[in-house]
Structure formats: C-alpha cells, structure tokens
Amino acid sequence: MKPCNFDYFDPKTLEEVVVLMRQYGSDGKILAGGQSLVPLLNFRLAAPAALVDINKVKELDYVREVNGKLAIGALVRQRVLETSEAIRSKCGLLAETAEFIAHPQIRNRGTVVGSICHADPAAELPAIARALDAEMKVVGPDGERIIKAEDFFVTLMTTSMDPSELMVEVRLPTLGPRTGWAFEEFAIRHGDFAIVGVTAAVTLDEQKNCADARLAAIGVSEVPYRDSKVERLIMGQEISESLLDQAAHQMVEGVEPSTDLHASADQRKHLLRVLTKRALKKAAGRALKGFEKGRGKNA
C-alpha cells in the first residue's frame, strides 16, 4: 500500500497555491491534513498528478471573529476546536463535536476545512456547516467567491468547488446565549465515522418559544441532510415532548438512507428519529439554560 508517484509542491503563499491549482486543475489535489487524502493515495484509490501541500501557507492558519461570524482558516486543525477559547465560547457546538471526530492523533493533523471539502457523508463537520448555514470562502483562478452551505455539498464526496479552486476559510455564525446546541451520534466504535448523527441548534425568543431551529443529519443521505419542514414545524412553538416527537417523525419523512455493511436503511431511519429528538431536546434544554442565565443577569 504505497502511493503512486506525483509532483509535489509546498508553496508558502496563497498566491502560489492559486497559480499551481490553475496549472493542474483536476489533475491536482490540495493536501491539507492528509487524514483522508493520504489513505486514499495509499490504497491507490486516488492518483493525482500533483499534490499542492498547503501546510506551509501560514496565512491560512487563523481563527477570527469577523462581523459576528467565526472565520476558520484552511490550516486550522481539528484539534484547535477543542483548545481554542474563542471557538469554545463562540461556537461551543464545534468544540463538543470535535470529540466525535476520530482520535487525537488524527485531529492533531486533520483540518476543519479539509473535512468540509472532503464531504464524507458520515463526517461531522459538514453537518454543522450545513445546519448553521456556513459560508465557504473559496479562491480560484477567477478570484474569490462565497459558496453557501446549501449549495456546497453536491453528493457523496463531491462539492460545488471547481477542482482548481481552494477553500481558504469557513465562516460559521457565533452562537448567542439563547441558542442551545447539540450533536448526537451513533458510531460503532469510539471515533468511527457516524452511522447516523444529528446536530441541532435552537434559539429561543423572549417568550421562550423557538425563534430559530436548525437541524442537519449525517449518515442518512449522500450529503448532510436538512429539512426546512422540520425546522418550520418547531419555529414559533413552545418546545414540548410532543413537538419533539413530531419533529423527529417529520425528519425521517424525506430520507431514503441506504443499507450497507454496518447498518440497514431501517435502522438508520430509526436512529435518525431517535437522535433528532435527543439532539433537539438537548439543544432546547441548553437554550433554556442560557435564557435563564441571561434573565438572571438582567434582573
């Protein structure tokens, strides 16, 4: 299991990366953390003519808050999700979810953006990107553009980026005190890709009703799954057990998961229903806590 030969580049600036990607187009591949790409190379399931290693492009290694959004550069490792105070306080969902992603050795190297670009249908970060309407800042030969999460994931391991494009940053909204969040997943072993995972973010209004609800699921379709019907069902409502049940049932309406080695379609649907409810409940519970805390402060 050794990789095929390739041309290797390790530019130091974004500009050089763009030039190289223009040159190689679909024959080239960005090498970020390598935690998904290198296994594919070792199995010879991928054999790009060139690898453009972005690990030396230090300008891509940042976590910033810009206009109320958290901007995570392409070199930020998944490990940083656990250690960064900014991320923990502004988007705790990311910090908590990191533990579901593989193991420390992988997270030390794998990048947040790389995971989103890889678009594995069972990966956690794409679900968060989809649920929170992340924006993907990509740069290509024709310059820069922003792709919305809903337009980003096309199908299994496929995004709407052009092969010559590079994603430089993902932008995620920061989550306020009245927003609660959760990531619930079932995986067979600790650190495995999810069989099914659901992420939820619930924001409460002054009346403790749901002002905003976001849900995305993985492991049930080729891209992170989101259903606006479910979200609309909850919005404006007071969170109740029966509402959660309704939402959970609605969530499985539109999915047609497949059966594979490790799970059946029916099992996935069942898990989707169960995890949706759990995630919503936990998110709502957290939102409520934040709400109470906030009120305590105001009083």
């Binding site: 390790d10 420390p104 050795q105």
Partner: protein, 162 residues
C-alpha cells in the same frame, strides 16, 4: 515518471539528519528505512491502528499519513527517544511493571499516545484513558494491562513533578 527527490532536514530524537527523499515516501517508511529507527511500526498504512504514531513538533501524528518531505524542518520524537541515558521513561517503566507489553508491536505507538495524553491530562480516570488510547489497536492485551500501565504512569509522573 521518475520520482522527484528533495533534500530535507529533520531532527529526530535530538539528532539532525539531512537526507534526500522521494516526495511520495511515507514518513513512516522514511523513519524506518532511511533513518533505520525501526521502533516505529507499521500496522495498516491507513491511519487506524496507531502503530506508526510519533510526536511531530510535540504532537502525536500518524507517520503513515504524512510524507517525509513534509517533515522538513520538523522535530520528531520516536520511541527510541523516550529513554534517556539508559534510563527508561516512567511510562516505559510503568508498562514494564504492569505487563503492558506482549508482542510489543503496538507498544511504541501506545507509549507516544499515552505520553501526549498524560501531558494534556496528568491525572486521567480509567474511562479517560480508554478514550484517550482508542486510536491505537492492540491485538494481544485486551488493553487491560495497558490501561493499568497508563494509570500507573500517571501516578509515577505526578509523583515526580511534585
């Protein structure tokens, strides 16, 4: 297509090496074949077993999922770098005393993983140890003695720093 060669400089266990490598050579192969540091083992070459774990600029990584060229300028610690002056590292001692080793093939990876784990969390619970080493596979021990070894090492290392 002939392989492209690059010259890299790496520091491994405190020793500087200048070597020419082919760009597609995996870091694990480089450490074993070019540097002849054969304590780093290879068990899967797809990132799951953890046998190839080394410290890369102070953090654990899978050396089978990196290319040697990427290590240019880096500092690496392998299992050979743990004992100093013939004195076993407390972790190694703990593995010895608690029968944390059977065939020894997984051992280097576990040692380096446990080292990072204890640096981050010097006093872990058993459950935290289990989760912390879940990125490494051992086929011999059923993990029980390894877990006991890591807990014993935590006690030892804690005692030392006090």
């Amino acid at each position: 297509m002939p392989d492209e060669l690059r010259t890299i400089q790496v520091t491994v266990n405190g020793t500087k090496y200048d070597r020419q490598v082919r760009c597609r050579k995996l870091l694990s192969d480089f450490i074993r074949e070019d540097l002849r540091l054969v304590g780093t083992h290879v068990g899967c070459e797809h990132g799951i077993c953890g046998a190839c774990t080394v410290l890369f600029n102070g953090q654990t990584i899978r050396s089978c999922l990196m290319f040697a060229v990427q290590a240019d300028g880096a500092e690496i610690t392998t299992v050979e770098g743990l004992a100093r002056g013939g004195q076993l590292h407390p972790l190694q001692e703990a593995f010895w005393e608690n029968h944390g080793v059977q065939c020894g093939y997984c051992t280097p990876g576990f040692l380096l993983t446990a080292l990072e784990l204890l640096q981050r969390n010097p006093n872990p619970t058993e459950e935290e140890v289990r989760i912390g080493i879940a990125g490494n596979i051992c086929r011999c021990t059923g993990y029980q003695h390894i877990i006991e070894s890591v807990l014993a090492a935590a006690a030892k290392m804690g005692a030392k720093t006090v």
